[in-house]
């Protein structure tokens, strides 16, 4: 068996967001070639942003990703506000956190139930899974809907919401709307607890790897909307210093750029966040974690699904806390005169750090834009994981099992290929 040659080509990866493929060849019992190929056509967003008014940016960047538009809007407004000298009020900061909690709940629940869990339970899709586990799938869809309801509360709709503007929100929702949403979320909390316990019961492979975890970190809060960049190997830098530590390169097989930390792959996303910010979890979520009997930090990538479920719980607890003290305001946004400058923004998209940089001219037009999404940061890690995990799985296994294992490994990262493809400017124009 050891000298067989296997050429495995998965032309379209199912249950991931966007279009990607996997090429794998095995010769003489070793992996000769392994490429996660991203062929989603480029959409060139960074170029479209040039020459637009800063006020148009939130609506434009939302269109990069239908699954995490909130992340794009929040990273962008943060960067633009830093240029304009706007310091958000506590109301604006709280509502951004609430808004973002909605996206975590929606995106994580969609991934757990519709994309990832069928792998661990042996189904091709969530509808087939619902045949045997109807209550599990229904609960998942209900949690996903609650996340969407939070986004709609502030944004009018959950995909490409319209409530965000540079400086805050266009309007403050009514107390009655807040009370209705709060009641829905409170009723859902036991379901979120049950979900976390259920993910622990899944037959997850036991496999530890060595890698660096990178996330935002902020004193006194689990990182969602802001923070500095920290890592499990002691990194702690401001978001403006991103380029000093992280480098992007263009792999020929991909329309996404790969991002490395000093030449090494690294992990962003729920598992990295959980590993680095355990002490910032709400106390109710910490208790749930103990009840789960899981130990974090964990370097088993398959524990990502548990981290996602725990983050759903944490986001729900946070959303409930913020809604309990909700009061409308007369000043849902701040304004400032445009001015020239460069600004940075970073937030924790459901899949990990989403980093933006904008340069504005004196009239408020975008001179240049650069966006680094989480999936291009994870891409090198996914390839490294596949090599290690497939070797361990056994390259002499039947082809369809190798394929299934490889797909499971990839899906576990919740790669968003639509996001990864569309930008990332490689030649940064440096002015002398």
């Amino acid at each position: 068996m050891s000298n067989r040659t296997v050429n495995l080509n998965v032309p379209v990866l199912a249950r991931v967001e966007g279009e990607g493929a996997l090429d794998l060849s095995i010769a003489n019992g070793e992996i000769a070639e392994l490429r996660l190929r991203i062929f989603e056509p480029p959409r060139l967003f960074e170029k479209f942003l040039e020459g637009r008014s800063y006020l148009e940016v939130p609506d434009m960047v939302a269109r990069i990703c239908g699954i995490c538009p909130v992340a794009y809007q929040i990273s962008a407004v943060q960067a633009l506000e830093s240029v304009l000298g706007i310091e958000p009020t506590p109301w604006i900061r709280d509502m951004r956190r609430l808004f973002y909690c909605g996206e975590w709940i929606e995106s994580h629940s969609l991934h757990i139930h519709l994309l990832a869990a069928p792998d661990f339970l042996g189904f091709a899709n969530a509808i087939d899974m619902a045949g045997k586990y109807p209550d599990i799938v229904r609960r998942g869809l209900k949690i996903q809907e609650a996340g969407n309801a939070i986004i709609s509360f502030l944004g009018g709709r959950s995909v490409h919401p319209v409530g965000v503007r540079v400086g805050g929100f266009w309007h403050a929702p009514s107390t009655a709307a807040a009370a209705k949403l709060l009641a829905e979320l409170e009723a859902l909390l036991p379901e979120a607890e049950a979900l976390a316990l259920w993910t622990v019961s899944l037959p997850l492979p036991d496999e530890t790897q060595d890698f660096e975890c990178v996330s935002l970190g902020h004193a006194g809060e689990y990182p969602i909307t802001r923070g500095s960049i920290v890592s499990s190997r002691g990194l702690d830098i401001g978001i403006a210093e991103f380029d000093n530590e992280f480098q992007e390169s263009h792999a020929p097989h991909s329309t996404a750029l790969h991002c490395h930390h000093r030449g090494q792959d690294y992990l962003v996303g729920p598992l990295a966040r959980m590993n680095l910010n355990l002490d910032q979890l709400p106390s109710a979520t910490r208790k749930l974690l103990e009840a789960c009997g899981m130990r974090f930090p964990s370097f088993n990538l398959f524990h990502s699904i548990v981290a996602r479920a725990l983050e759903i719980h944490a986001a729900l607890v946070e959303a409930i806390r913020l809604l309990r003290s909700y009061a409308p305001t007369d000043a849902p946004y701040l304004e400032a005169a445009p001015r020239a400058g460069v600004g940075f923004g970073a937030s924790e998209a459901p899949r990990g750090i989403l980093w933006h940089r904008y340069e504005l001219d004196g009239s408020g037009s975008i001179v240049s834009a650069r966006i680094v999404p989480p999936t291009s940061q994870n891409q090198a890690r996914i390839e490294a994981d596949l090599r290690a995990s497939l070797n361990r799985f056994g390259l002499d296994q039947p082809e369809h099992e190798i394929r299934q294992h490889a797909e499971t490994v990839i899906r576990n990262y919740d790669p968003c290929i639509s996001c990864a493809t569309h930008f990332l400017k490689l030649n940064i124009k440096k002015k002398a």
Binding site: A14, R15, E56, C65, L110, G156, R157, G163, F169
Partner: protein, 261 residues
């Protein structure tokens, strides 16, 4: 004897994946739909059979790379009824902002170190530029109600309701104060197709046209009004050249103002 369920497929081209979420965010209705129809292809949700013969093929995304053209022809061949969902499939999407821009040829090289590996057509075009489309559902994003409503109609042999009236009509129904009149806001509502629920005026901001042109929109007068309201020519152009920049008459009016700034 059990009748064969209608068969559907959901295909994706260049897009943000947001319109497919009309299915995946539908909650309980997704489970009901899956009982009433047989899903044969829907890659994001786990079904892979792109060439299967189906009754309805839903298409998200614009045609923007050479291999897209072959794929969309195959989708057309496979389907009795082809429905485009969203601004990308119906009008070329936001990425159509590259169409007709001279410098666009160099953009790929600006972004990618090895542009020879990037396959991209010079223009992002709607599905209807390449094959016959039976129903176009507008919106960025389309709503669950639009997509499931159209599906239910088609399955019952009824022509789907696809209103082309402007956002203003919906604003009046909901009792929103007109922000164009009260705030002099450059609202695209009078020329934009309804379907969103008049969300932007509802939160006190001008409509930015994400559902594309309404039926018989007077875009020329709209643009003149924006000028009178204080927008410069470049700003007027940008109102029309945004989410559905390739859709007429937005494309012509926008280009006119862009070239005469």
């Amino acid at each position: 004897m059990k009748a064969q369920r209608p068969r559907i497929a959901v295909h994706k081209f260049a897009s943000c994946d947001g319109c497919q979420l009309a299915f995946l965010n539908a909650g309980e209705a997704l489970l009901t739909l899956a009982q009433r129809v047989e899903i044969l292809h829907f890659a994001e949700a786990g079904w892979l059979d792109p060439l299967a013969k189906v009754d309805i093929a839903f298409v998200e995304g614009s045609i923007s790379a050479p291999h897209d053209i072959e794929r969309i022809r195959a989708v057309r061949e496979s389907a009795k009824f082809l429905v485009t969902i969203g601004a990308c499939a119906t009008a070329g999407g936001l990425q159509a902002l590259r169409n007709g821009v001279k410098e666009a040829a160099g953009w790929v090289a600006d972004i990618y170190a090895s542009p020879q590996y990037i396959e991209s057509l010079p223009e992002s075009r709607p599905v209807s530029a390449h094959v016959k489309v039976d129903l176009e559902i507008w919106g960025c994003p389309v709503t669950i109600e639009q997509v499931l409503g159209a599906t239910a109609s088609l399955l019952n042999g009824v022509t789907p309701v696809n209103p082309g009236e402007p956002v203003c009509v919906e604003c009046k129904r909901r009792g929103h104060a007109c922000i164009m009149v009260t705030q002099n806001a450059p609202c695209m509502g009078p020329v934009t197709r309804t379907g969103c629920g008049a969300l932007c005026p509802g939160v006190g901001r001008a409509c930015y046209g994400c559902f594309g042109p309404a039926e018989l929109p007077n875009a020329v007068s709209m643009a003149k009004h924006f000028e009178q309201a204080g927008l410069d020519k470049r700003e007027v152009a940008r109102r029309f050249l945004f989410i559905t920049s390739a859709a007429q008459p937005f494309a012509d009016v926008g280009r006119h103002y862009k070239e005469n700034e």
